[in-house]
């Protein structure tokens, strides 16, 4: 059987990677050289830029300082950056020591998911602040063999920025840039050692309890008042790129460019919003859950002063019990036992809380040496524990043994 026949015979097995069903009808494998500065590109506000014998496409757009992305303008970004700079404590999203122009809001479109060598980035989109304007630049790969031009221009242009702002860029976009850069590393500038704010991580900290999904499109709709019209969903981007490669009609990409542009602009707005939420003490529009999660975040990064302040502000809300327990634990860590006891005792005024009873029992036994009280709290704790519903039998046996041990020990101390 000839090779051609065999290839056809086994077609189904050979192409099980999932071919684009539309591909076969429109196939034109050999393309005449494309006029690189075709009017079709100009219609997209894009043009070809050369590097040696290659070219890539640059689409550029400037937005003035009045331009509103959802509820925010560039001025709001300047404002939060100034406030970050006024603050001395560090935070993963702090722009302390930086200016608005240092930030590079960054998002990519790729030919597939995952981080393998064959997943090509065909669009690198950036937004940055230049004086008071926002500049959006999108570097597009018109043919897979033109990566030298793509990365040359991209890396040359972003040299005076120092910090990426992305949405899931730590896990996806930037590693993928590293992968593709490896192929052309001898011919293009080195990757700069960027700082990196991954806003997905921040959004998870603050809103994971509030929203089921933290996809960028949901976040911008729920939090930023951004409503996209006729957006091309990101998952279609690879198909549209493949179609463009076959058809060579830039109009196919219109929606992809706009989608990517929206994404990078949303990042400016989201960064401003997240910063506001983190820096703002007035909590005007924040829900109790958000405020509690923010306090927890400060605690997690060991900014205890900030965390305490924020927990205190929650004492007159529905999160008061959680806040009291968090405060008690913070004071215990800071060896301020009396304050810790104050908060735990305040918890048990209204709640039969096992953990608080145990903590109180421990402190009265070991620190205050007041065994009567220690025993009282241990017994209260045991009762509260017994009234709880439990699921894991193993844990139950362990817990029970511990209560018994504690009670017996304290009883023996009383004598």
């Amino acid at each position: 059987m000839s090779l051609q026949n065999k290839l056809n015979r086994f077609k189904k097995q050979l192409t099980h990677v999932g071919t684009d069903p539309t591909s076969k009808k429109t196939i034109k494998p050999i393309k005449e050289k494309q006029e690189v500065n075709a009017p079709e590109w100009r219609a997209l506000q894009a043009r070809a830029i050369r590097f040696e014998d290659q070219h890539c496409i640059l689409r550029e757009k400037n937005l003035t300082k009045e331009y509103k992305i959802g509820q925010y303008t560039v001025n709001d970004l300047h404002d939060v950056i100034k406030r970050w700079n006024d603050r001395s404590q560090s935070h993963p999203l702090s722009a302390g020591g930086r200016q608005a122009g240092d930030l590079l809001f960054f998002d990519t479109e790729t030919t597939g998911l995952g981080s393998g060598a064959g997943n090509t980035i065909f669009l690198l989109g950036v937004a940055r602040v230049i004086e008071d304007d926002i500049q959006v630049r999108q570097y597009f790969l018109p043919e897979p063999g033109n990566e030298v031009a793509l990365y040359h221009h991209f890396l040359t242009d972003v040299q005076d920025t120092s910090n990426l702002v992305t949405y899931n860029g730590k896990a996806f976009d930037w590693p993928q840039v590293k992968t593709r850069h490896t192929f052309v590393r001898d011919m293009v500038p080195k990757l700069p050692p960027f700082g990196h704010f991954d806003l997905l991580h921040g959004a998870r900290r603050v809103w994971k309890k509030t929203y089921d999904s933290l996809r960028l499109s949901i976040v911008e709709k729920e939090l930023l008042n951004i409503e996209r019209t006729e957006d091309t969903p990101g998952y279609l981007a690879p198909m549209l790129y493949f179609e463009y490669l076959r058809e060579k009609d830039p109009a196919i990409l219109d929606g992809v460019f706009r989608h990517n542009e929206w994404d990078v602009l949303t990042l400016i707005s989201l960064y401003t919003h997240l910063s506001n939420v983190l820096l703002d003490q007035s909590h005007g529009s924040l829900s109790t859950t958000e405020r509690y999660e923010i306090a927890k975040w400060y605690e997690a990064i060991n900014d205890f002063t900030e965390a305490k302040q924020r927990y205190v502000c929650l004492l007159d809300t529905s999160a008061r019990i959680k806040a009291k327990k968090a405060l008690a634990n913070l004071y215990k860590r800071g060896k301020d036992i009396d304050k810790a006891v104050f908060y735990w005792e305040s918890v048990i005024e209204t709640e039969e809380d096992v953990e608080s009873y145990i903590e109180l029992s421990k402190i009265y036994e070991h620190k205050y040496k007041d065994f009567e009280k220690a025993l009282y709290f241990a017994r209260k704790g045991y009762e509260a524990w017994k009234s709880m519903k439990r699921i894991l039998r193993k844990q139950e046996e362990k817990d029970q043994a511990q209560f018994n041990k504690r009670i017996i020990r304290i009883e023996s101390k009383i004598g």
């Binding site: 897979p144 063999g145 076959r246």
Partner: protein, 764 residues
Amino acid sequence: MRIRKSLQEILKIMNQNEMIAANIAHWKTIPERAGRSVAFPDQIHPKIRRALENRGISSLYTHQYSAFEAARSYDSFVAVTPTASGKTLCYNLPVLQQVTENENSRALYLFPTKALAQDQKSEINELIEEIGIDIKSYTYDGDTPSNIRQVIRKAGHVVMTNPDMLHSAILPHHTKWVSLFENLKYIVIDELHTYRGVFGSHFANVLRRLKRICAYYGSRPTFICTSATIANPKELAEKLTGDKMRLIDNNGAPVGKKHFVFYNPPIVNKPLNIRRSATLESKKLASLFLENEIQTIVFARSRVRVEILLTYLQEMIKRKVGNKSIRGYRGGYLPKQRREIEKGLRTGEIMGVVSTNALELGVDIGQLQVCVMNGYPGTIASTWQQGGRAGRRQDESVVVLVASSTPLDQYIIQNPEYFFNRNPETARINPDNLIILVDHLKCAAYELPFKNGDTFGGVEIDDIMYFLTEEGILHEQGNRWYWMNDSFPAHNISLRSASQENVVIIDQTDVANVKVIGEMDRFSSMTLLHEEAIYLHQGIQYQVEKLDYEEKKAYIREVDVDYYTDANLAVSLKVLEEDKQKSYLDSQVAFGDVTVNAMATIFKKIKFGTHENIGSGPITLPEEELHTSASWISFSENMIEGLSEQELEEGLVGLSNVLRHVAPLFVMCDVSDLHVVPQVKASHSQLPTVFFYDRYPGGIGLSEYVYDHISEIMKEAELVIDRCPCEKGCPSCVGNEVQYRDVKSLALKFMKEGRNDSNYVTSK
């Protein structure tokens, strides 16, 4: 108190006890052989030398020395190393020496399984610690925690992994492994002989991809391969790696005394030549050793056999051997379970193990004294491998081969000289199988673009590149082909099995604790996991309650019954194209492409102990289709004149039954890789025909070999029938269920025609 007998005492009993001795067809004692060694070469780093001396190694065996010399002059080589011959030093020594000379050097070790890699890591790390130089060696597999993966990629001197991991996790992510690929000096391929058939053909392509990436990063590594004894280690290594190989076969390791006993179960029904069940006899012989607390491994040929034997032996041991346990070991057990069994064998906590050929590989289970094979393992090479499990370290040891009543077993047991004198089999691969090749070309294109005129392992590929471009998988630009698809091609390609996906086996005995206990390839699941099948796992019986073929899940529940199940597979065959053909007087032999349709039809329930059929039921599963290559022999009208349809059918079935066992012997493949199917009226020619087809889509060269050697195969099959003591056919030659009075002579008639190469007429 019971007094335990020694191995020697048991051997004496076997010789003297009539019940046993009468069934021993052949007893060969292979004498011990002293080792041959050479002083360490001068260039060995003094620290390495001291470390070896501290571990009691003061010289090298001759083959280790040759390996070191070859590796240090960067000549790729394959060393033939039987079990317990110190093969690890063949690669560890040159690799460690290299790293001490240039600490940037890297080596990649490939083991056929994850378990072997983990064994070897402990071994090399002990040596490295003794040497006291900072050499980092790691395993890289699915269990490697993500936080140390980055360290391994950047700084691992020795990276130990398996072909699957290389295929799906390392090569597609080569940009994260730059320091490995830029500095790769050695690629070690252990257990080379396991890379044959489909797996070998895949692996050859993975190595083509590996070499392509090494070339991209500017390295040209030397291959170090070790292999068990096969007929063509050098050819196999060259075909797999595409490099010229030196052959090192001057094994200098000492060998202990070994008794090789061929045991043929007694005939219980003379006219039908039916022998006592090999499984029951294996159980009896294994018990003899196990009762005396002599560590024994029992090999069985199928998963079901393993479980049946395990059930028998555990029953026996409950009464006699106290706490020490007997365990099963086969594919389908989860890794953790396997590690635990391996360890138990090493420490002696486990007295006996019943295994499929899964333990043939060099998994470290320490030293066993006795090996009992329930049935001939199918190839000479496998038999030596399995036998090597007994007495690895120079002691006296015993290997008992218990013949089953299949034609092949009976042939081997009655012709011991065939076994002891013949070369072991040839390992065959076909890296250019179109489906396998195209699969890996996709992966390769994902890894790096192809240029016009590029070759892949010497194969011209432009046509395939154009094909993939037309299918919208690649994109052509400026004489290069780029991957242009949103998938990750390696994920769809499994190196191990013909069908792409496995069925997971879910135990729902405990409703609150439903768990996955194993997996099985789709094709096997048709006959082993159909609804109502009794599935045995670690000696426990389960019944399959539901097989969700779409979702590839089998739901099972523990049961306690006194039978097991056995399913029938109906196969139909269509010739698509004839590529080669040769004619004899009354027969024609051809080779070409076929479509095979297979469907599981019914299953039987077979009672334990008596093996009687106690019921049956239908299987309703969709048909599986396979395009593959096949050879076939058809007989002319002259041959069948005067035969009734039934006589003809029985004759062909009888012939196929013998060929099914004899052909794999020549081709060196598993009986399940090469199928033999008779047809009274083949649909393409209307003539009585016997087909041989490759089980893998597109074929891997097995049936083509049959085409080339049909006369020899027929001659050998004729011998099997001729020498069988039965009168008119029995399960040991032409098979069961004989109606026609003399199937034997009819089958012989076909064979005589088939082997007749003197009256050759045409060939095209």
